[in-house]
Symmetry: C2
Subunit: 212 residues, 2 copies
Amino acid sequence: MAKESNISMPVIRRLPRYYRFLYDLKENGVTRISSRELSQRMGLTASQIRQDLNCFGGFGQQGYGYMVNQLYEEIGRILGMHCPTKAILLGVGNLGKAVVNHMNFASRGFQLVGLFDGNVALEGQTLGELPIRSNNELEQFCQQEHPEMAVLCIPKEAAPHLVERLVACGIKAFWNFSHYDIAYDHPEVIVENVHMGDSLMTLSYLMTQKDL
Amino acid sequence: MAKESNISMPVIRRLPRYYRFLYDLKENGVTRISSRELSQRMGLTASQIRQDLNCFGGFGQQGYGYMVNQLYEEIGRILGMHCPTKAILLGVGNLGKAVVNHMNFASRGFQLVGLFDGNVALEGQTLGELPIRSNNELEQFCQQEHPEMAVLCIPKEAAPHLVERLVACGIKAFWNFSHYDIAYDHPEVIVENVHMGDSLMTLSYLMTQKDL
DNA sequence: TAGATTGTTAATCGATTAACAATC
DNA sequence: TAGATTGTTAATCGATTAACAATC
């Protein structure tokens, strides 16, 4: 579908949310829905929903609405859920462990194939059915498995050097929990930053404002 | 400063990022900076930085720039870093543990004062120097400590009932890791959602697009 | 056919960028 | 004073909303 390029980021970032709501509707046995009803459930305008969906094609039927299951599948396809990408995770500390245990990579378009940590004491331990490997094995592992995405749960200080190595290993995208600014040094890779601290501080701001 | 109301969300969400960059500059011994230089480091326009900062007041000096430390402190004050809010966390599973261990609440405007879990087997265990309490103690604890914010690391199914109780206990804001849509049922509370899964799916989309 | 709801164009709104006067 | 850079207004750009013709 040629329409799919040049979609704006606000639209893209709404897609996973549509996907979640459609999944819930599906689970609740709803088979079709109008943009108007979906808009009420999601707190958006019906206009925006139709505008968003039409970036990718006409998934609805005039006078009738959208088939929930079909729309769910279409958005899943658009998001790349059906062609999983191999991913590795670096830094098996508190955060890394939680990401491995808590995040269902398989249902979000990725296949987690390797765990790495700089601490050799962890080597040989397993986490979520995967062995924890030493960073020394990185190059060899990537040559064999060809992962394309790396999850960074490492300290900021360790990041620049590791990112350099990972890019050399063929990693094309990063899910970055570290505070190192990858994009600045590597404009060619895709980076999705997760700054949980920023989110917490935003909440602090909003509470402070309301207190006035 | 009366200017501080009606600031748009895009501006607010950039504040923590300014705060981080200013901290780094400070650490590196930089004492003053122009909007132009900061814009280059952050990948923004100088215009936007000046526009953003002027929502809150004139922190710079014409012909000279901004004092790094002063600006850092001002943004910290705006974000409410200096008046910590008491917070509790519910759900001490993988994710809850990681949040407790990994997130420095104290440096982001909050004081974590209590941990709660529905699993009584965890009761009495400690995590990050705090005892894990049963959800049964919630009401009594809140009466004594008056926390204003709750971190939700609980399953979606458990959320509606617990949120009800927490709002009755005087909780005014939620840092929500669950997929339950709090705002829909409680428009009066402040909610900051953290949807890590959405972030991962966005990355999947971006990779899928580039592959075309 | 009549009613409903989409797909799509046009209008509005808001956010970003550019420009420049103020001033250090 | 001259140079630099802010604070602020104006212009542009993009995203959202409204409107409505197309059509199921």
